[in-house]
Symmetry: C2
């Protein structure tokens, strides 16, 4: 008699706090570098300091916040050099995911992947960048899920979160959009052939090219929205594609 896969798991406060804070950090609501006073967050989340502190410890071990003894916690800054390192690992994870997905994915999953890709292309043609971005993430998540490897899935999620945060800071070169779609076409073709090696290689290459674009965008710091309203940017949100 094995334990049920999903024990009901009513949420505890610190668990909810982790998810809430993580979302706030990834959404940019808590930008990198800002101090995170405990009491202020406590009343904001409506909880006491104890569960909040437990949540901060978890986020620290995930690398999203930095704990400085007796000096308070800050949202972890995004270092371009570190992002480069993260992408180097991400490339390897993408390759592994692609290879394993070919080996372990079901036909139904491959069909679903195809549909998602069609949707991606449609959204690209329609210029719906926000929707495209979401679909793109879902596609990569689907590939990772098809790999049937929980360890990979968890590790991938951690890196994807950090990359997502870095992107949200960068003014992304929209010129890469078309290029990125082409790369998607490429590895999708490999997937349809169930060519594990090729799919992995193309996914890794896709990740590497994304890295170059993101890092380049990071070097040109985003227009400080505060204080200079000159250009009337066509798109208010710093958008990025992969």
């Amino acid at each position: 008699m094995k334990a049920p896969a999903r024990p009901i798991r009513r949420a505890t406060l610190h668990h909810s706090a982790v998810e809430e804070l993580r979302a706030m950090i990834l959404d940019g609501e808590l930008p990198p570098g800002v101090r995170v006073p405990e009491v202020q967050l406590c009343e904001q989340l409506g909880i006491s300091r104890t569960p909040l502190r437990e949540a901060l410890r978890v986020l620290s071990s995930e690398g999203l916040v930095e704990l400085r003894p007796h000096r308070g916690a800050i949202v972890a800054p995004v270092d371009p050099g570190e992002i480069g390192a993260i992408f180097e690992v991400m490339d390897a994870l993408e390759r592994l995911a692609g290879t394993l997905a070919c080996r372990n994915g079901s036909d139904a999953e491959f069909a679903k992947l195809d549909r998602m890709h069609d949707q991606l292309v449609t959204q690209h043609e329609a210029g719906e960048r926000a929707a495209y971005f979401l679909t793109n993430r879902q596609i990569h998540a689907q590939i990772v899920a098809m790999a049937r490897n929980p360890a990979l899935e968890a590790t991938y999620a951690g890196f994807a979160a950090k990359i997502l945060r870095a992107r949200s800071l960068a003014n992304y070169d929209t010129g890469r959009w078309q290029e990125s779609v082409d790369e998607h076409e490429g590895f999708m073709a490999a997937f349809r052939r169930r060519d594990a090696e090729e799919a992995g290689a193309l996914l890794a290459d896709h990740s590497r090219r994304t890295a170059v674009a993101v890092i380049q965008a990071l070097r040109q710091p985003p227009v400080q929205a505060v204080g200079q309203e000159g250009g009337a940017a066509a798109d208010p949100t710093p958008m990025d594609v992969e």
Copy 2:
């Protein structure tokens, strides 16, 4: 004026507790599946429940303990299937480490690696398994360090810890020892040629073969040391090599 790289960082209790508990888990002092009553650990470590609980949350996010709401924490069990998944990722990390080490390692580091390898061979010939095992870990850590990638280093450490724990439970096939040394000779030759691709490939292969041996050893559960003291095992600690 940038902040100093190493602000003194006097230890806090929960930080010390994390390291202490992690060591206890990895050393097998806290075997998988055992419950971890908070109060008992508190008096054992001489701290209060608050920092201990913060430490448990961190270890949970590392995957070394499982938190069951209102039911207490247990040391995470070692599931052979999960170990297989972990090794799949580990293979990719080893490959990446080997490739990057070739590209980024200094000549001094390569020389040091050579010396460590000589020591490894000597210890193998002398049959000093414990010393061999330690040197082996140091070699792999050195390779990862030469990759110059903090993200890889952190991720690698996490996986290595879980693998180490799995090994400590398994009766390892000593027949693999010679084979493992041969594989070390192989990737060392590639390192001496600075052949990044080959070194990475051989390291990944080495990891994969280790995985097979470890998983096979896990299937044959270890002799329960308690209750049967028959064989007077030549080596008290379940030894393993890679």
